[in-house]
Amino acid sequence: MITAGLADALRSIVGPRWVKQRPAELTAYDSDALPGYRATPSFVVLPASRDEVIAVVRLLAQHGVPFVPRGAGTGLSGGALANDAVIIGLNRLTRIHAIDAGNRIAHVEPGVVNAVLQREVAPFGLQYAPDPSSQSACTIGGNVAENAGGPHCLKYGVTLNHVAAVTVCLPNGELVQFGDPASERDGYDLCGLFIGSEGCFGIATDVWVRLLPVAPAVRTLLADFPSLTDAARAVSAIIATGIVPAALEMMDQATIRAVEASIYAAGYPTDVAAVLLAEVDGLEAGLDADARTIERCCREAGARDVRIARTDGDRARLWQGRKKAFGALGRIAPHLVVQDAVVPRTRLPDVLETIAAIGARHGVAVCNVFHAGDGNIHPNISYDASDHAQAERVHAAMSEIMQACIDAGGTITGEHGVGLDKLGYMDALFTEPSLAAMCAVREVFDPDRRANPGKVVPVHACREWGGRR
């Protein structure tokens, strides 16, 4: 129960400045990066240390109050939204406890920003491989919660593959460690289970991430195509050669134009239907051959031009443009729906055509910017919510698009998580027993269902509060 006494008790743990309660102070925390959603938390608590996190969680457990962990609020599935729950912000836990270059492992707090970690390990010639597009702002804790991906996960794998261990404050306030920073542990892979649990199993207070040496050489290519379908065919052709690109990304014309109008303009051609950004890295020997093979695949698929980044600066610009593309879409119209589906790579050409047809039928403009190599597509629709008829069309189109992805043998999220936004699609994807199994797993960590309630698994599946939203 939320009482006046609870607020005072929270203040005594973290200090008065770090408990937010008044309406204006809650405003910044009533949404995350998912456009169009809003939920007002009861309080926002910003602890500064693991001990404070534990004390806060214990106190909330005593009062039976639900909570939602939040990093930088850059998530795109509404996972950090809290309705009648307390937000526990982890953004003040920013210490990098240790960088063990010899064992290639770093021990960090959950509030460390992904790009800050990259910057700190760079002097050792190391990198943290997962590079979500929001890496300049998003936190490692959030990455763990969402099992974040990124362009380079095509070759290097997602967050799951790069976390050795986590210390977790369970929803009852108990502290446990999953995984082992030093070695593989026998028994169930609880660390693996925790990663991607979207804040429903507890709060990671310590994360041990694996580091990789920075590849000694890299080639980045930009190919442009007269149609999305041609670009999608090139993707399948490249993968079929056996080359594993470090990244293989696609952007369509609407996205390119938004990026080129922004401060992150990278010099993408604005008169083409799509560009493919391909990167290969590794030992110097053989890279040029790989780059030539990729170029050939692109040209055979109909590419008008293929160019290679000449300098590090050129390469960085190409990547900045791609990574900031989502934010740049705000230029097109005031409102935006973002999606995150995965389809089998070979189905990309026809799924993209289907998406375009759905968009055309509903009279909405779909922008595509996505991780083509993984088949992880992000169809986004920009629109003006003050036009209600348009908003209805946008939603209808998006539902059809998601269904088309599922019908193509795909799934509803590649990296953004289910959160709140994709809850409605879970029934279409999973059977009743599968959803019940998920609920049973959750029960183990959070029997009272107080950690990020109402997310990931539809509530009716857990027979909790009954009924669909």
Partner: protein
């Protein structure tokens, strides 16, 4: 769950505007560009240092939206607190993929809320003085006299921090004693100026603080411009640019000051306007926006604004990189042959003023100017793109936050181990200068034009006949 909509994607029916005809309502289109991606968070000095999303650009944009929607009141003290805490450094603008015009939105918000929430006394006094030309001149004369007594140096050391800081700021404006180069270095280290450049006519913005406390930098600016094929003319009748007033939301006062300056600069038509203060340059370049509602002045404002150049923009294509020794520590054979070793280069670091880097988006030109200064080594400064906490009169009005923002800057400067910290804006120079002085650092803050001028004073420029090296 009452979480807004899942059935109709996007926000529920848009509420009608609660503040019709307010400056914020007029600027509201800019808010629509924000998709709250959060990419502005790490760029924002107040978010980074205060660790609260209420003190982030995204958080403030949400507050603005709720003011317009009528969900929050313009008198809400929390809204005021978080709007006041914004430095207005606009680092979020150079991080924003969507091009949200944050600076304009902030000024419009402050103009809207100040009706209900008067500005603090300190700010009122300072803004009042800067608005009155005679009074300002008197205050600046007084400040110069006080500075000459060396009393501020002493007060900066003995007073408690809060009181000492303004005195440290004043003391730090004392013209820097730059190192005297040896005769040998003077020969070796000459500023190299491109010959055969078309002569340009410029008029200098004299400024207010620049005129009052940085007269030496103004004089240096004229000398440097003259040495690089510029004819410098004067524009009588100009005064303070009004930036401080605009940032505080007193847009009417800022407009009055803008009109006076526009009229003054119109008397020297066709001349480019050379500005050595980044904050003033940003303001002058935005006169068109400031007066966009004034049909009689808008076109005139745009015309004057289009002539404004930061001094580094004028110099960048006229200077060539200075000769650098291959290994500063080891004298070259040629040096030995001349019987004299050259001095090791002086370590300097560049701290870009926010209103140059983020507001005017000028980054390459200052680098070109610095690379033209002989005998110095430019050392990288960590987080140089973060504000120093000066932000006009912010350090006087919000001293706690200003200190919090300045602290990491001073740490990074200490780590860089430089003799000179270079920045092209009087506010930054005073903030950094005072911070360095109070922390007992031997590093001094200096305007890049002072350093360049010093080199030009030591030895006449070498005119290099290359037509174009770009």
């Amino acid at each position: 769950m009452t979480t807004s909509p899942t059935t109709s994607a996007g926000p529920s029916p848009l509420p009608t505007c609660a503040l019709p005809d307010s400056p914020l309502a007029k600027a509201a289109a800019g808010l629509d560009a924000c998709v709250h991606c959060g990419f502005c968070l790490p760029a924002c000095p107040t978010y980074v240092n205060l660790q609260d999303e209420n003190d982030s650009p995204r958080g403030r944009l949400l507050l603005m939206r709720r003011l317009l929607d009528g969900e929050l009141d313009v008198r809400d003290p929390d809204v005021g607190t978080h709007m006041d805490r914004c430095l207005g450094c606009r680092a979020c603008e150079t991080a924003c993929p969507s091009g949200v015009p944050y600076g304009q939105l902030l000024e419009a918000t402050r103009a809207t809320t100040r009706v209900a929430r008067p500005v603090p006394l300190v700010a009122r006094v300072v803004l009042g003085v800067f608005q009155r030309e005679m009074l300002l001149s008197l205050v600046l004369v007084g400040a110069r006299v006080l500075r000459a007594t060396r009393l501020p140096d002493w007060l900066a050391r003995v007073l408690p921090a809060r009181l000492a800081f303004p005195f440290a700021m004043l003391a730090s404006t004392t013209p820097a004693r730059l190192p005297q180069a040896s005769a040998h270095d003077r020969v070796l280290h000459r500023v190299r100026v491109r010959a055969s450049q078309a002569r340009r006519t410029v008029v200098r913005l004299d400024g207010c603080v620049m005129r009052g406390l940085f007269a030496h930098t103004n004089a240096a600016t004229t000398r440097v411009l003259s040495a690089t094929a510029h004819t410098v003319r004067s524009a009588p009748g100009q005064g303070c640019c009004g930036a401080l007033h605009a940032h505080a939301g007193d847009l009417d006062a800022a407009r009055d000051m803008a009109r006076r300056n526009i009229a003054a600069f119109e008397r020297v038509p066709d001349a480019l306007i050379a500005v050595n203060s980044a904050g003033c340059g940003a303001m002058l370049k935005e006169y068109g926006h400031l007066l966009h509602d004034d049909p009689a002045w808008h076109a005139r404002a745009e015309a004057v604004a289009s002539r404004v150049r930061d001094v580094s923009e004028l110099l960048a294509d006229r200077l060539l990189p200075a000769a650098r020794e291959a290994s500063p520590a080891a004298p070259t054979a040629r040096d030995s042959a001349h019987g004299a070793a050259s001095s090791p280069p002086v370590r300097i670091a560049y701290d870009p003023p926010c209103h140059l880097m983020h507001a005017q988006r000028i980054t390459r030109e200052p680098q070109a100017v610095l690379s033209a200064i002989p005998g110095v080594e430019l050392v990288p400064l960590v987080d140089a793109d973060q504000c120093c906490g000066s932000a006009g009169i912010y350090n006087l009005v919000e001293p706690d936050t200003s200190d919090a923002v300045l602290a990491p800057k001073l740490r990074h400067v200490a780590d860089a181990r430089v003799e000179w910290l270079v920045s092209g804006n009087p506010g930054c120079l005073m903030q950094l200068g005072a911070g360095l002085m109070r922390s007992g650092s031997s590093t001094r803050a200096v305007h890049p034009i002072d350093l360049l001028d010093h080199a030009l004073q030591a030895a006449p420029a070498e005119r290099v006949g290359e037509p174009d090296l770009a």
